[in-house]
Structures are given as C-alpha cells and as structure tokens.
C-alpha cells in the first residue's frame, strides 16, 4: 500500500530498512525522516483519551525517545508503524496511571472519553470534507478510534489494529465496514451519498 502523505523528498521515500541503520550511525537526516514518516501514526493512535494537550505531546515525544533508545533492537523495520502505535498507547497508559486516572494494569484497558467538537475555523474549504468531519465527530468513540487506526499513514495491518484494540483480527474488517456505513448514514454525509 502506498503511503498517502509520505514526504516527497528523497530521504522521505527511503525505506525504514535503510533509515534505521543510518539513524543508529548518527545520521540526523535519517532520524528526522523516520520521525516525519511515523509522526501521524504516533499522534493519531493516541487520540480520544483522557489526557491534556501537554500530556498527549509528552506521550508523543516519549514514543520517539523510546524508538531512539531501542533503534538497535529493531529487528523488522517494516513493522515500525505497528511498534510505534503500540508504544505510544503504552505511554498513554503509563501517563494515565501517573495522573491517577487509571487503576487498571492491562495496557489494553484504555477508556475513551468524549472529545470536544472540532472547530470549524478556516480548516475546511471543501464541503465534502466538512461533512466528513461533522459525520466523524458524531460517531461513537469506538468507531472513531477504529477508523483512526485503519487510516494511519503508513498503514497498520488488521492484525496490528486487532492487537491494539484487543479485538479478534478477523473482526477488524467487518467492524471497519460497519463504522464506515454508520459514517455514510450520518445526517452530515447522507446528502453526499444518495443518488441525486
């Protein structure tokens, strides 16, 4: 699957297999390319939790510090997106425990909280995008979480998404379908779907 938003410059296209040893050797450009390529995975896999903005940023940064410290132990660079998503969510788990918002010890047990409505300000110049944004905001927290995880860039496999959510791998596809159908059925999206 092609990475939708990958940087277009030469380093941005370099495979993880090449970037990892270069970063270990101290190549800052390679490290920045790694962070750049994996930033969306780290950020969007930790949306929706009971964390303040600063804590979410700390979890994001800590994910990459941990990637940095573990670089030499990465055996399968192609699996980095899944590793980053798992690590980022573990960081959230640790922070929620440190903030006394979570007593559970199971790292899968990450309660979702309702998110504030997203601002309309100057973001959407496209009617369809605005409708998708409003439709997405009206979905259940579980559907939002699943759709965030199946739209990560670079993408995660269904097996990786299933592991993150502690759901059977075979149920990710059908659940994705159900959530997309719910999205199409929202009041915001309906006018764009029905034949006219």
């Amino acid at each position: 699957m092609p990475a939708v938003g990958a940087a277009s410059d030469e380093v941005g296209q370099t495979r993880f297999e090449e970037l990892v040893p270069r970063a270990i050797a101290g190549d800052r450009q390679a490290w920045e390319a790694l962070v750049g390529r994996l930033q969306r995975v780290a950020w969007h896999s930790i949306a929706g939790f009971d964390l303040g903005d600063e804590d979410r940023k700390d979890a994001f940064a800590a994910t990459f510090f941990r990637l940095n410290e573990r670089l030499a132990t990465i055996r399968e660079p192609a699996k980095l997106p899944g590793w980053v998503a798992t690590t980022a969510r573990n960081e959230v788990h640790t922070l929620l425990r440190a903030r006394r918002r979570l007593r559970a010890t199971d790292p899968h047990d990450l309660p979702l909280v309702p998110q504030p409505a997203l601002s309309d300000e100057g973001l959407m110049n496209d009617e369809l995008h605005g409708a998708v944004r409003r439709g997405f905001a009206s979905l259940s927290a579980r559907c939002q979480e699943l759709l965030r995880l199946v739209t990560l860039d670079p993408p995660l496999s269904y097996a990786e998404v299933g592991d993150l959510l502690d759901m059977p791998h075979g149920s990710i596809g059908p659940t994705r379908q159900r959530c997309l159908d719910q999205l199409r059925g929202t009041a915001a999206l309906r006018p764009f779907i029905a034949g006219r």
Partner: protein
C-alpha cells in the same frame, strides 16, 4: 441509489480530514526530531522495579505528592531513583567516581554525585532519563514517562 464514493474514497477523505482537524503539533514534532543521537552506544539499563506499574492499583494513594520509585540495573550496577513532581533523588551503586547526567528532551545536565553515589536534581515536566558514565562503561536508563 448511487454511492458517490466507495470505501476507499471515503477512507481517503477521512485520512485527510483527521490530519487536518488534529494535526501533529509543531513543538511536539520538533522535540521528537531533536532527540539526541549521540548516546546510542550506551548500554541500556533494565527497569527492574517501577512503583507506578508494579504495585497493585489498590495500593495507590490519591496524593499528588506521591514519590515514584524506580530501580534499573546493568551488569552489576544499580541505579535507584525516587521521582516527585519537581525533583528527583537517586543513588548509583557501586559508588565510585561516576558521572551522572540528567537528560530531558535534547538537554543534558551533569549532576553532582557524593561519595555514597547519591545525587539529586530539579526536573522539568515531561519524560526524562539518566546517563551514568565511568570506567565500567556508559549506561543509560530507558526513558521514564511521567
């Protein structure tokens, strides 16, 4: 009824919308990119105890002044840290002429260490780690999320 877009098209728009409405903050990205690449040859100490994670949830108190205790080992070296909101105290053993550095983001601060291997430091919010030098080789703790 005709669908204006199939699953792949809808997911593509959704990917774009999620990026647009919840972009990665520039300061967090800059912090991650500024990670220090120079200390990657240090031995990574193993976290053997973390009071936050190793104590049962029921024993946690709701006092924000709680101290979190962590212990790391590497070979025969042990690094113990007691971490509170604004500072830390710790001890490295065996105590020898051992430099200790506190790392936060891209900043490293050398800490004075006494004859018993004890050190203390004021800490900023956010993740931190300790680096220990000396004749036995460089050791770094894993990053501590806090």
């Amino acid at each position: 009824m005709e669908e204006r877009f199939d699953d792949d098209q809808l997911l593509a728009v959704l990917t774009h919308v999620i990026d647009e409405t919840d972009p990665v903050p520039a300061d967090a990205l800059a912090t991650a990119m500024a990670a220090d690449l120079s200390g990657l040859d240090a031995e990574l100490a193993e976290l053997v105890f973390d009071s936050l994670l190793d104590q049962g949830g029921t024993t946690m108190r709701d006092d924000p002044g709680d101290v979190r205790s962590l212990t790391f080992t590497s070979g025969d070296r042990t690094i113990e840290v007691d971490l509170a909101d604004g500072g830390l105290v710790g001890r490295v053993s065996p105590a020898e002429d051992t430099p200790v550095e506190l790392e936060q983001g891209a900043t490293r601060v050398p800490l004075p260490v006494d004859d018993l291997g004890r050190f203390r430091a004021v800490v900023q919010p956010g993740p931190l780690r300790l680096r220990v030098g000396g004749a036995a080789g460089a050791v770094a703790t894993p990053w501590i999320t806090r």
